[in-house]
Amino acid sequence: MTTADVRSRPAAPNGPEPKAESGARLAHRLFVVRELGILLALVLLVAVTFGVNQRFLSAQNIKDLLLSSTILAILAVGQAIVIITRNVDLSVGSILGLSAFATGALFVDNPGTPIPVAILIGVALGALCGAVNGGLIAAARVPALVVTLGTLYVFRGIDYTWATGRQINAADMPREFLRMGNATVLGVPVLALFAVAVLVAAGFLLKNYRSGRELYAIGSDPDAARLSGIAVGRRVFFAFMASGALAGLAGVLYAARFGTLDANAGLGIELNVVAAVVVGGVAIFGGSGSVYGAALGAVLLTTIGSALPVLGVTPFWQRAAVGALILAAIGLDRALAVRMARRLRGGKTRGN
């Protein structure tokens, strides 16, 4: 009897969990609450700003707001996919820059290129960059933060080398392409429709498909994911490819919206993207959150930028407000998680 544990049958060290049902509902509510919370903050911000100045909700201003949110939102969706797997992609700004310049250069060299082809080429270029990231991370098993910090420099460097100080102007691009950057359908900018399409597709995939759920599993516990037979490397690879492809798409839309392109497009935007994702309730260490939250985070950050001047705050406060918002968001997530853990542990407390 060397090893028999000191224990016997009839005792039940952990009683049945009377709180299981309410615990689940609580968890559900908290998840929903997280996205509703951002939405609420957004509505509140818009309402207050509207109260101060009715023109804030003029058709033109709404259009501008949606347009400026579009690119950040698309990047945030891609970034959310990556962060859910407990990785991070810092190279999205550089991929965007590369893709935007490539689009411009494509039109300069082949003026007759159809717009869908240009979009496809931009997306493919982004996917290729993402594949480089994902390949290095999955095959050589190196941390994503380091690899994508490296490719942030490399992709931007390629962009610089290619552009060599050149600037591509609106005049170099087809008029229909630039019109796409400004056109609206029923008052909604076409570019924003791209973002909505991307968002809905990504959200649908992540929620309803095995591969999508596996991304959450990987971020939740990479070792357990491997033990349960998930092809972790392949999934992470595709997550980075998706993020790259979306950054590529954002690059094309950037070209359409701004018309003027040099090698600096999207410089430094990666931290804004991560900020949007974090504000949107995606846990920085993976496993939870949604692309909807991330996109809402992007819209909220953009709205703050345009609301502050209307509220009479100097635009210089904008960054500080964003920073404070990030800290508040992660602090709130932490507090909610602690509360939820306590509630779920529930009846375990003995004594008294």
Binding site: A140, R141, G150, Y160, I284, A320, G331, R334
Partner: protein, 349 residues
């Protein structure tokens, strides 16, 4: 899960791997070798490289990066990261400039207040990370935006540039008889301080322990959270010192000073062989990496490689620094036909 034997088998000799392997295997040695090769090749082939003036420029450019890289190395060794350093530089510059603009004319007082400000900013990071238990990556992305934002709040788009010429000249003044900036001596002294702290004090020992296993460190009586807190404070103060240098070197305080510098610092630290997961690496490699990147950048500039394209070199080196050793290790393991237990990715604390 492991079976026990009283005698560890399969180790015949008492001696370790041969000396050349140990040296070659050390990333520090690889970096120093690369540094020497770059210096020699560049001096021989590119006009202007190797001249005293060249090194003066390299030094002036590298000083702020190196100043911040010293504490950042320690932070990353404990498994954390501070991305807010460049914003701390920017905010320090702005406050320094504004204080001068408002009539504070005592240089020692200005420097003291700047360092104090940096320490406070670092302490704010530290409180969020150690008291509230939030991940440093997310916190310092937040304070990156917050501190830079506050810099804009303080200074707007103004630039404060009317400092006494003696201040700005003294900042970049050479050591008498040479062209090397005297501030290099300050940097060297601080490097010694941080080096001793890391390699030859009980605190240094605990930093490696924390980075490898914070829980076991706690069980061994190390105050993990307190240690991390003070590292963030030190990082803030050092970033502030870099801010003071930056202001006087360029004779300009602007809210956007040193934008993006955090990535350059992190890149240098990681290239220097410090593991992003903590627990491995040291200052020798990091200092070599800062020098290597600085010299490479300036030398290629002299060789008329467009400045911006040089980022490719930085990025490639960074990727190679992590991918290279991993591929070598994986190949070696495959050779031995010994499959490791599923690689454990360290869970963030």
């Amino acid at each position: 899960m492991a079976t026990d034997t009283l005698v560890t088998p399969a180790r015949t000799a008492k001696a370790g791997p041969p000396a050349w392997r140990r040296l070659f295997g050390s990333w520090d040695a690889v970096l120093i070798l690369a540094l020497l090769v770059v210096v020699l090749v560049a001096s021989a082939t590119i006009e202007g490289v190797g001249s005293p003036r060249f090194y003066r420029f390299v030094a002036l450019e590298a000083i702020p990066i190196a100043l911040i890289a010293l504490p950042m190395t320690l932070v990353i060794i404990t498994g954390e990261i501070d991305l807010s350093v460049a914003s701390t530089v920017g905010l320090t510059c702005s406050v320094l400039g504004q204080l001068w603009y408002l009539g504070v004319t005592s240089l020692p007082l200005l420097i003291l207040l700047s360092l104090l400000l940096g320490a406070v900013l670092g302490a704010v990071n530290g409180v969020f990370i150690t008291v509230f238990g939030l991940p440093s990556l997310a916190v310092t992305i937040g304070t990156l935006a917050l501190y830079r934002g506050l810099a804009y709040v303080v200074l707007g788009d103004r630039a404060i540039a009317d400092y006494p010429p003696t201040w700005t000249q003294n900042a970049v003044a050479p050591i008498p008889g040479t062209v090397i900036p005297w501030f290099v001596l300050v940097l060297a002294a601080l490097a010694v301080v941080f080096g001793v702290l890391l390699y030859a004090t009980p605190i240094g020992r605990s930093l490696y322990a924390i980075g490898n296993n914070a829980e076991a460190s706690n069980f061994a009586g190390i105050s993990v959270l307190r240690t991390k807190f003070w590292l963030f404070v030190a990082t803030g103060a050092m970033a502030a010192l870099a801010g003071v240098f930056w202001t006087f070197r360029f004779a300009s305080a602007r809210a956007d000073n040193a934008t993006g510098l955090e990535l350059a610092v992190v890149a240098a630290v990681l290239l220097g062989g410090v593991s992003i997961f903590g627990g491995r690496g040291g200052l020798v490699g990091v200092i070599a990496a800062v020098a290597l990147l600085g010299i490479l950048r300036n030398a290629l500039q002299l060789a008329d490689v467009p400045a911006n394209a040089l980022t490719i070199v930085t990025g490639t080196l960074l990727i190679l620094s992590v991918v290279g050793p991993n591929l070598v290790r994986m190949a070696r393991e495959r050779l031995r036909r010994r499959r490791p237990a599923t690689t454990l990715e360290r869970k963030p604390s």
